[in-house]
């Protein structure tokens, strides 16, 4: 087990005074077989009522309702968590033979059960005919091999560039402009996979700093792919890596919209400036 200290901090300033607000923070790591929270703390600069809810995919959200007027809101989340260090990553031998894999991916029941992760959203929507030929799966190729290859091809096809895209940049724009941040890499990969009816989901989380990876120091995004009979496995096209013990998952969903770290509603609506910082260190 590795022990990580995670800090998420956001600072919101509003041009006009906000009278009433409702916020949801999806920033606490998800607890599962590989990761566990030992200790956590939420603090905010404006007094309000706080409570937890679950989102539709059952991830825990911290909610804050504020009824006293404010111009700035500072929010801070801190936790200590334990992460299992896996040295073994599944290989082709852990998967179904390619022909059985294809049969299962093609099955109506499988597709119905995994519809949220097969249905394109406006952020991921690409059709198979738009995808560069060398990024498509051939029928003979085992799924795992294909995903490794795709992860690598996307990594070299796109150029990492901050501040040129927004949370609303679609996979189709990314396909054309070949620029973006981790979120764009993830939407692009998801779009390609779903266009071939391979179930996959968007993952948001933290990346352990000091690993020479892109995206550490901020919220990170990567992709999980559903392997028939095996289950979900994470891939990070931004870094051409597999999601190992340096990847601390918060939540997943159809796309970024399901995994936003801050989701808020303020009255009256006004211009806001948000700054945030993330730190993940092992101790």
């Amino acid at each position: 087990m590795i022990e990580y200290l995670i800090t998420y901090e956001s600072n919101n300033r509003y041009e006009e005074q906000v009278q009433e607000a409702f916020f949801e923070f999806l920033v606490a790591p998800h607890e599962n077989d590989t990761q566990r929270i030992v200790n956590e703390k939420n603090t905010h600069s404006v007094e309000g009522t706080s409570f937890y809810t679950k989102n539709i995919f059952s991830y825990k959200r911290y909610c804050l309702r504020l009824a006293t007027p404010f111009n700035t809101l500072d929010f801070r989340y801190e936790c200590v968590m334990l992460k299992k260090q896996d040295t073994y990553f599944p290989s082709m031998y852990d998967m179904l033979p390619p022909e059985d894999e294809i049969q299962m991916l093609d099955s109506e029941t499988f597709q119905i059960e995994n519809y949220p992760f097969l249905n394109q959203t406006y952020l991921t929507d690409i059709s198979k005919s738009e995808v560069p030929e060398n990024m498509l799966k051939t029928s003979a190729m085992p799924l795992l091999e294909y995903i490794h290859q795709l992860n690598q091809r996307i990594h070299s096809y796109l150029n990492y560039r901050s501040n040129v895209t927004t949370p609303f940049t679609s996979a189709r724009e990314t396909l054309i402009r070949q620029l973006g941040v981790c979120q764009d890499y993830a939407h692009f990969m998801i779009g390609i996979l779903r266009s071939q009816l391979i179930p996959c989901r968007y993952v948001s989380g933290y990346l352990h700093q000091g690993q020479n990876t892109i995206g550490a120091g901020q919220m990170h995004a990567w992709v999980e792919v559903l392997f028939p009979k095996y289950g979900w496995l994470g891939f990070d096209p931004t870094n051409n890596l597999l999601a190992d013990h340096h990847y601390l998952k918060i939540s997943d969903g159809q796309d970024y919209q399901d995994c936003r770290a801050i989701n808020g509603f303020i009255k009256p609506g006004t211009v806001n400036y948000t700054e945030y910082a993330v730190s993940v260190v092992d101790q």
Binding site: E24, T53, K54, E108, N263, K267, G269
Partner: protein, 490 residues
């Protein structure tokens, strides 16, 4: 001269059209049995008295504020009276029984369908309804995914539109499972009838409609969250600019519940509270007349001020009930409508009691080919609109309009369905411009309620009248009128 005319004289001038099914007159122009008494009574009224009654009824409606807005009007926001015709539409008890059984059957099946769609999805796995149709529906709502509402009821209030075809049978035109409106007109039309034609009304053995608000209130109470004995129910309205605001305030008043807007509610600890002068009060059941998209800015449209932030989480936690549930729109998608007979068979193992109108789905190649070849004889409708918006009628459109609309269909095939132009029955209706009773096309919107152990169909309904001659679209939002609808007690 006109002043001395009695309605009896006018009835003689009625331009009977043997091509159409007339509700009042049989093929030989004789008055149908169940209309005898009413026809005879009206015949004795002088035209002058009748006009006075109309004026009285109109001003009474205006005083009560029974108005609505037409979104397509140039004068946006100008309130209009929903024209009300004094000649009631009569339905014999026996005919009504079939309608009622048919509606209850349909409601049961659609409710099971919604439960299944958002949970086990058996009907999709069994390929009775294609999954593509459901997952491409604009109203399929992922926020209801893996979720059963309190008491498992999705559709608490539904408004089923029926027409009587020239073959004498009732057909379901569409199901309205989101926020169907119009029931306040059923109740206020009845009040108007009682005021204007009291002698006739009380002599006739007519089933009451007045129990609707009371049953609605029972339905809401019956679906309260687990453990809440004396639930607080409210009616959530988008506000006074909504076309059905009159209805919202009317129903809230009748049920004795608070009429609230989104800004009156807030969510804390996954419970919903209403702001009151005595402090926050917990709300257990919301009869919402706000569409899904505007209900909670945290999950739906972020720019909406009509909803309550955090509402959907509170709902999924089971701490508040919404009537109707969210996501019901997928079952009143007009393309899904085509599968309702199969849906009834699948869940209930019964044959449908009420017929569907034959429907072509432009998404299917053979159907599209048929629609393009026969568009002159078809009505084409978008699957996700209501209120009669976006409807294209082949036989009254020019060559140019037709060829343009064909392109529209081809570019968005999933969006359009087509139906044969049904010959809606006609009903004698007083037309002010001509001072005559003339045949006008009518339909019937019924209102049914489903609660825990409650199945109710309002015995009556809103008979909508297409006021323009020959027009087949009866929606109030398209400038139609209405009639009181009498269901006879046997």
């Amino acid at each position: 001269m006109d002043q001395e005319n009695s309605l009896g004289d006018l009835f003689k001038k009625y331009p009977f059209d043997p091509q159409l099914l007339d509700e009042v007159y049989g093929k030989d122009k004789s008055v149908r049995n169940h209309y005898q008494q009413v026809h005879q009574y009206l015949s004795q009224i002088s035209l002058k008295d009748f006009k006075d009654l109309i004026e009285y009824a109109t001003s009474a409606s205006f005083d009560q504020g029974i108005t609505f807005n037409v979104y397509s009007d140039k004068d946006q926001g100008v309130e209009r009276i929903f024209p009300f015709d004094l000649f009631p539409r009569l339905i014999p008890n026996k005919e009504w029984e079939t309608i009622e059984r048919g509606i209850i059957q349909r409601g049961k099946a659609l409710n099971l369908f919604l439960q299944d769609l958002y949970n086990d999805k058996k009907i999709l796995k069994d390929k009775v309804v294609p999954k593509e149709l459901i997952y491409s529906s604009k109203h399929y709502c992922k926020h209801v995914h893996d979720f059963y509402p309190n008491k498992d009821i999705f559709v608490h209030v539904s408004g089923t539109d029926l027409i009587k075809h020239s073959d004498g049978k009732f057909y379901v035109l569409e199901d309205n499972l989101r926020c169907p409106s119009g029931v306040s007109y059923v109740l206020s039309n009845r009040i108007a009838t009682k005021k204007t034609l009291p002698n006739l009304f009380f002599k006739s053995d007519v089933q009451p409609v007045v129990d609707y608000p009371e049953i609605l209130s029972e339905v809401l109470t019956s679906v309260a969250p687990h453990g809440v004995d004396d639930p607080v129910c409210v009616l959530l309205t988008p506000g006074m600019y909504n076309s059905a605001y009159y209805e919202h305030s009317f129903l809230a008043l009748q049920m004795g519940v608070q009429l609230v807007e989104g800004r009156d509610l807030f969510v804390e600890n996954n419970f919903v509270y209403m702001k009151t002068i005595y402090g926050p009060k917990k709300v257990d059941v919301i009869y919402r007349r706000v569409d899904d998209d505007f209900l909670d800015p945290m999950v739906f449209r972020k720019d909406s001020l009509l909803g309550v932030p955090g509402l959907i989480s509170a709902y999924r936690e089971g701490n508040v009930s919404l009537a109707n549930a969210i996501g019901t729109g997928v079952a009143d998608d007009k393309a899904v409508y085509t599968y309702v007979p199969d849906i009834i068979k699948y869940y209930l193992g019964e044959d449908p009691i009420l017929n569907n109108v034959h429907t072509y789905r432009c998404e299917k190649d053979e159907d599209l080919a048929y629609v393009l070849d026969n568009i002159e004889n078809l009505v084409v409708k978008p699957v996700d609109e209501s209120g009669g918006y976006g409807i294209f009628i082949g036989n009254i459109s020019s060559k140019d309009e037709i060829s343009r609309f064909k392109e529209v269909i081809k570019s968005e095939r999933r969006k359009y369905i087509a139906q044969p132009i049904m010959s809606l029955s006609v009903h004698s209706t007083y037309i002010e411009d001509t001072n005559l009773f003339e045949p006008r096309h009518i339909d019937l919107r019924t209102f049914s309620l489903t609660g825990d152990d409650i199945e109710y169909v309002c015995k009556g309904g809103l008979t909508r009248v297409a006021l323009r001659k020959g027009n087949l679209i009866v929606n109030s939002s398209q400038g139609g009128g209405s009639k009181d609808t009498w269901v006879y007690q046997d």
